[in-house]
Amino acid sequence: MRGATQARWAACAVAVALAATACGGGGDDSGGSGADGIVSSSWGDPQNPLEPANTNEVQGGKVLDMVFRGLIRYDPKTGEAQNMLAESIDSDDAQNFTVKIKDGWTFSNGEKVTAKSFVDAWNYGAALKNNQKNAYFFQYIDGYDKVHPESGSASAETLSGLKVVDDLTFTAKLSQKFSLWPDTLGYAAFAPLPKAFYDDHDAWLSKPIGNGPYTVQSYAKGSSMNLRRWDDYPGDDKAKNGGVDLKVFTDNNTAYTSLTSGNLDLVDDVPASQLRNVEQDLGDRYINTPAGIIQTLAFPFYDKKWDTDDARKVRQGLSMAINRPQITDQIFQKTRTPATDWTSPVLGEDGGFKKGLCGKECTYNKAEAKKLIDEGGGIPGGQLKISYNADTGSHKEWVDAVCNSINNVMGNNQACVGGAIGTFADFRSQVSTQKLTGPWRAGWQMDYPLIQNFLQPLYYANASSNDGKWTNKDFDGLVDKANAETDKAKAITTFQDAEKVLVEQMPAIPLWYQNGSAGYSDRIENVELNPFSVPVYTEITVK
């Protein structure tokens, strides 16, 4: 019977093991409730070092939004640009701006926020030697080509267009007219920086100091960041909770599981696989609101086949061959909205969003689609290959659905196929080095809620994100005209005129607007997503 004894012993070991885990689990208290309650929230590891001018993705941007306040802030509800630290930003000619800063703002280490805090930070961000990935945000300021030439070394240390007038005033001279420029200043890259940033850069990076409603209490790179309310914060958007603990999750499924088991308060990206259960799991604690993101199919105009008048018809035909409502319903469970223009609903009617601007060219129409494609001589190369990266974002599903829709119209199972590329980096490198000969999935997340941001960087000749190298004189002329317009409303309608050129030329097929999705526990209330699909942390209250 000794064997049996040993078996019993082994069973006991398992039982002890499980019991011990039980002791370990469930003992998590997230610190207090009410006004001092701490919110725990999911987070992704920021890709780049956390500096204002070096952070270009949502996860790092999330932290900057909590730790910094700039001249302008976008209203979390409407996306409208409002003065934050700026007393006024004036210009007579849409090119020379005078910026006055409000008195009484300090960084959380007590240092005063002055005109110099901005000018130095912008000079740092623009300088080539600092490797800042958002440097091009300063490209409109005079002298940018000297501190950040396209090749070779910099011939100046600072931007000649920036001048400190006194403690609370500085002037900015742009290299071209740009009436909406003040509205771009809410982007994180334009945040002011304290002296500590330059004095001990490594120390600052391991514990950023800013002037926002939260301060960084501790930061364990790659795993968590604890932010606490800054009680002396001078702004009127003080945090309504004690702080936020951001926790890095490698898999958003795990984050979601933690939420449903009560170990996490907030998940700002509900995984696609859970969308079917989310209403049942969370009820009205599930948020699904539009974000400033649009998805398109971009084309390679550097390839002669696509840059012809016939190909234009084919592109329009393809656009009409895609059954957008069906795909957004069935594959995305309504977390996308079929696109009818090239901007985003978060801009609002006043901001330049125009529902249905694309018209019949973006509406599913089987017969018309087939007719246009045939008129244009069929798909260039005989087969449409849509490239996408296979590592993230489950793009395969919708690319296959889009192809399916096109194949249906063409009556040919091989008319359209998906072309998977292993990693995002490889995908991006093939796109940016003009290796692709067919369309690819393109996504655009706005930097600031302006119609200009949805058009100029993507479709203007040689613009930073015009990967397909599309050029059109009419479009460029209208964008220039819109930028020079001193009247804001007129500028926006001129941008919409430029957008109408896109309907005729179809340089990229608009697919759908992406929503931000989030879920939260019953411990917290007043959770909302801003137009950038980032939770408005300051407004969250703990029960």
Partner: protein, 307 residues
């Protein structure tokens, strides 16, 4: 013995260079990592060029490899794209994964070997059949299924454990992930031990030991088990390396920020510095584990001598 160890250590050198070179080439074949750093837009060419030269990506691959290996011997593993030293990443990731691996190995040894002995001694009995079927099920079901299922049941439905562990997990938090990680190897250990025990149970020396009138416990543990452990030890030894590197799935499910997580992140971002650095360490662990296994043979079976 000493000469044997030295010879083995010398053999490790070409293996070490070969594997690191292979990994280096593989990561480099994947294309330009800088392109992925700027999100869905193109990096401005000047910044991209400067980043490339900072990470040494503008040089030919053989030169990159030589520089990398040169730096390696001064203890410099390079910098990850988020500005952190790779050594810093290792300092946080390895302790966690080592803890997880130890938990998994303990499970393998304790449960695997005990079950193996029990079933090996009672071949064909109901206990044996039941365990055989169970191990078959465990081997057939992929780790991520076991992991997600346990997470759902224990973490969400019954609330016994937390579905994700904290950023610096303690041993008790790692018990369930460790069990999941160990599960497949555990089944193999059980089966290996069972077969080995069953075979040796009829050996002459066992019969002699029983005939001498030794207590059954002493016969099983000192005579039978000791001789039967050689294949099992070999398996567990090589498994150390496999568990550390192969924890990606388990670490993802339970949000453990260990080696698997860093490797996954490194591959996704095509960060050759991270990937090559971590794999280099894993290769060393693997080689060391293999050497220790070979040396253990002599302890288990004194007939084995090293020339």
């Amino acid at each position: 013995m000493g000469r044997y160890v030295i010879r083995r250590l010398l053999q490790m050198i070409p293996v070490f260079f070969g594997t690191t070179l292979l990994i280096f080439l593989m990561v480099n074949v994947m294309g330009d990592p800088i392109a992925g750093l700027c999100g869905d837009r193109q990096c401005d060419p000047a910044t991209a060029a400067q980043l490339r030269s900072e990470f040494g990506l503008d040089k030919p691959v053989w030169q990159q490899y030589l520089t990398y290996m040169g730096n390696l011997f001064t203890g410099d593993f390079g910098t990850a794209f988020n500005g952190q030293k790779v050594t810093e990443l290792m300092a946080t990731a390895f302790p966690i994964t080592i803890r997880l691996t130890i938990v998994a190995i303990v499970f393998e040894v304790v449960i695997g070997i005990s079950l193996g002995v029990v079933t090996g001694l009672r071949r064909g009995r109901p206990v044996d059949t039941t365990v055989l079927i169970l191990t078959l099920v465990v081997i057939a079901v992929p780790t991520f299924v076991t992991g997600l299922l346990l997470q759902l049941l224990l973490g969400v439905k019954w609330g016994i454990i937390k579905p994700s562990v904290s950023s610096d997990p303690t041993i008790d938090e790692l018990l369930v992930p460790g069990l999941v990680l160990a599960s497949v190897s555990l089944a193999y250990v059980t089966r290996l031990t069972r077969t080995s025990i069953a075979e040796n149970a009829r050996a002459d020396y066992v019969r002699t030991a029983i005939a001498k009138g030794l207590p059954r416990r002493r016969v099983v543990v000192r005579h039978l088990l000791r001789n039967s452990l050689i294949p099992v030890v070999t398996f567990i030894g090589t498994d150390v390396g496999a568990l550390m590197g192969g924890a990606i799935v388990t670490e993802r499910i339970f949000n453990i920020h260990g080696v698997g997580y860093q490797l996954y992140q490194g591959i996704l971002r095509q960060n050759s510095q991270t990937v090559v650095g971590f794999v280099t360490i894993l290769v060393l662990v693997f080689l060391a584990a293999n050497l220790i296994v070979d040396l253990l043979y002599a302890v288990l079976d004194p007939r084995i001598r090293y020339a």
